[in-house]
């Protein structure tokens, strides 16, 4: 096997005993990219892999390993453009906290950033200023989104591992569509400092990896309190790798009845049911549970997320950074800059969010949405009194065709129906590969747990993974 095809922990072993060198890993990735990237388009600004080099970091736990970063996480001196024209050529003057942590651990930041939906607005990576990414399992399909570039890069072995961000499913859904592992940590577990904000009460950075062990290693490195993010929580970060390899006998998994309804693809349903049976055969105890406000999650999300986005994206006005349209008047300069700099979905969301916050509509939309958010969170609290996990599909369908939902925003928004509640409730959730449809598209199993219980997620996910072969199957490219 080529080095690019290995997991991070396999490469760390090889680096340790001298069977691989950092240069060899980079060369292997570049060779892989040279052949595949023109088809997959996982990276935002790929031209050629010829001149790519890595800044070696001083020693550390992850010394010698490169990592791919989503285009909305600030990397000092490296283009960070949120795949938007309005941030064209933006090179941050500082590193996000997760990047500083990775560098201190010895990790090298891959010089090209991963493609994404503009400002993370989307579920398909079709909204990128740089054009869509293609799913490595079927190049006519989307990789999911918004972290579609990160997931496609990992799935096609054009990256060893990657960071994404998840506001309503943007790590888990592409992980599911691309057959890799993706974790959205608990809100407050990972610092958001240097993550270009979409919806600040929902955003969280997390890993996209080839297996559960890599996700555990990466989560350990990026987690922890950061004085630069007042919503990060000062709570010890456990050694997540220690939670791997334990059995899951007697652990209680709840199956939410509201998730297994009309709209779920029949093949996804049967793959998920088989996965649940597997968990039971490994000793987990299952029971049906209810999350009665599930049907309200998507509408609540599209009020709260767009309201926060409209406020966060006010900073893109052509003054301090990024694109500026020519004009002699300040207000006109703002309006033209934003008209020319933002793509269609960004405009739609900013305007929807501005509407929800505007005088006369605030109570009916924004305030009401915040109240329903409380009800959604209460649903989860009630289930977690009796159950350790909630298990569900990550997405109601496998990857869909490029262009299929692009003209129907509402249909696209419904792609996130199983992932959005998790962000609203602030809990952690992981998506792991659990099978394929007849057409050979991957299906992801989503597991949710109580706040700050990532350890338990890794334990269950690892037990499932080690007793199945799904994570070892690679796309034929």
């Amino acid at each position: 096997m080529e080095l690019s095809q290995l997991t991070a922990h396999e490469l760390l072993d090889k680096l340790k005993n001298g069977q691989a060198a950092p240069k060899g890993i980079l060369d292997s990735l570049c060779a892989r990219m040279q052949g595949l990237e023109p088809k997959v388009k996982a990276y935002a600004r790929f031209k050629s892999a010829d001149k790519l080099s890595l800044n070696a970091q001083a020693g550390g736990l992850l010394a010698g390993l490169p990592i791919t970063i989503k285009d909305n996480i600030c990397t000092e001196g490296l283009n960070t453009e949120c795949c938007s024209k309005i941030l064209e050529n933006f090179r941050p003057p500082y590193d996000a906290t997760v990047i500083s942590k990775l560098k201190s651990a010895g990790c090298s930041i891959f010089p090209l950033k991963a493609n994404m939906d503009e400002f993370a607005f989307g579920s398909s990576t079709e909204n990128s200023y740089f054009g869509p990414t293609h799913n490595p399992w079927n190049l006519e399909c989307v990789p999911g989104g918004s972290s579609g570039g990160s997931a496609a890069a990992v799935a096609s072995d054009e990256a060893i591992w990657a960071l994404g961000s998840d506001t309503g499913g943007s790590i888990r859904q592409p992980a599911s569509f691309c057959g890799v592992v993706g974790l959205k940590p608990t809100y407050g577990r990972v610092s958001r400092f240097g993550l270009i904000a979409f919806a600040s009460s929902l955003d969280q950075i997390g890993p996209i990896t080839k297996d559960v062990e890599d996700a555990a290693i990466l989560t350990r490195v990026i987690s922890g309190y950061d004085p630069n993010d007042s919503t990060s929580v000062n709570q010890d970060v456990p050694d997540y790798v220690e939670s791997l390899g334990k059995d899951i006998k007697g652990l209680k998994i709840g199956i939410p009845k509201e998730y297994f309804i009309e709209g779920m693809d029949a093949q996804v349903k049967s793959v998920i049911e088989e996965a649940i049976n597997k968990l039971k055969s490994l000793g987990a105890v299952s029971g049906q549970v209810s999350l009665p406000h599930t049907q309200y999650a998507v509408p609540v999300y599209y009020i709260i997320a767009t309201a926060e986005a409209s406020s966060n994206l006010a900073r893109f006005d052509g003054v301090q950074y990024g694109y500026r349209a020519k004009s002699d008047s300040l207000i006109e300069m703002y309006k033209k800059t934003r008209a020319e700099g933002f793509g269609e979905e960004a405009k739609r969301r900013i305007i929807l969010g501005t509407f929800a916050l505007s005088h006369g509509y605030y109570d009916a939309y924004y305030l009401r949405a915040l109240k329903v958010r409380t009800l959604i969170k209460n649903d989860f609290d009630a289930v977690f009194k009796d159950f350790d996990f909630i298990v569900a599909p990550t997405s109601p369908t496998p990857a869909f065709k490029i262009g299929e939902r692009a003209q129907d925003p509402l249909k696209m928004y419904l792609s996130d129906i199983y992932t959005i509640s998790v962000n609203l409730a602030g809990i952690p959730a992981i998506s792991i590969p659990c099978g394929f449809t007849k057409d050979g598209l991957p299906v992801g199993l989503q597991v949710m747990a109580r706040p700050f219980n990532e350890e338990m997620l890794f334990r269950l996910a690892h037990a499932f993974e080690q007793n199945t072969e799904w994570h070892k199957i690679k796309p034929r490219l």
């Binding site: 933006f90 090179r91 003057p93 809100y187 407050g188 009460s201 007042s230 919503t231 929580v233 049907q295 309200y296 998507v298 509408p299 609540v300 009020i303 409209s310 006010a314 006005d317 003054v319 301090q320 950074y321 990024g322 500026r324 002699d328 300040l330 207000i331 006109e332 300069m333 703002y334 309006k335 033209k336 934003r338 008209a339 933002f342 405009k347 739609r348 900013i350 305007i351 929807l352 501005t354 509407f355 505007s358 509509y361 009916a364 939309y365 305030l367 009401r368 949405a369 915040l370 109240k371 329903v372 958010r373 409380t374 009800l375 969170k377 925003p409 509402l410 609203l424 409730a425 602030g426």
Partner: protein, 95 residues
């Protein structure tokens, strides 16, 4: 509740986004559909429910007001589309 073209135009002005006539037309239609879907929320009785602006029991996070290392003017201005000395420069506001 519904949204008409005039409201979309007004909100776009608040958001400082210039819309072409065809964009306004399309957006008004799409937002009408999206808000129709969102109106599902009005069926719920939330009179007694407290709003959750975020889910952590954290409020008013303060730090000591002490000088610390931050961006230098040069670095802060590195990405400016237009600058003059140590300032961002914008079109003239006052006649």
């Amino acid at each position: 509740m519904s949204i008409d073209k005039e409201t979309v135009e007004y909100v776009a002005h608040l958001a400082r986004i210039e819309l072409k006539p065809e964009e306004l037309e399309k957006l008004s239609r799409q937002l009408h559909d999206i808000l129709g879907f969102i109106d599902k929320l009005s069926a719920l009785d939330v009179e007694q429910v407290k709003p959750a602006s975020h889910i952590l029991p954290i409020s008013n996070v303060l730090r000591e007001d002490e000088p610390h290392i931050c961006l230098t003017p040069d670095k802060a201005l590195e990405n400016a589309p237009s600058k003059s000395g140590n300032f961002f420069s914008v079109p003239k506001i006052i006649e």
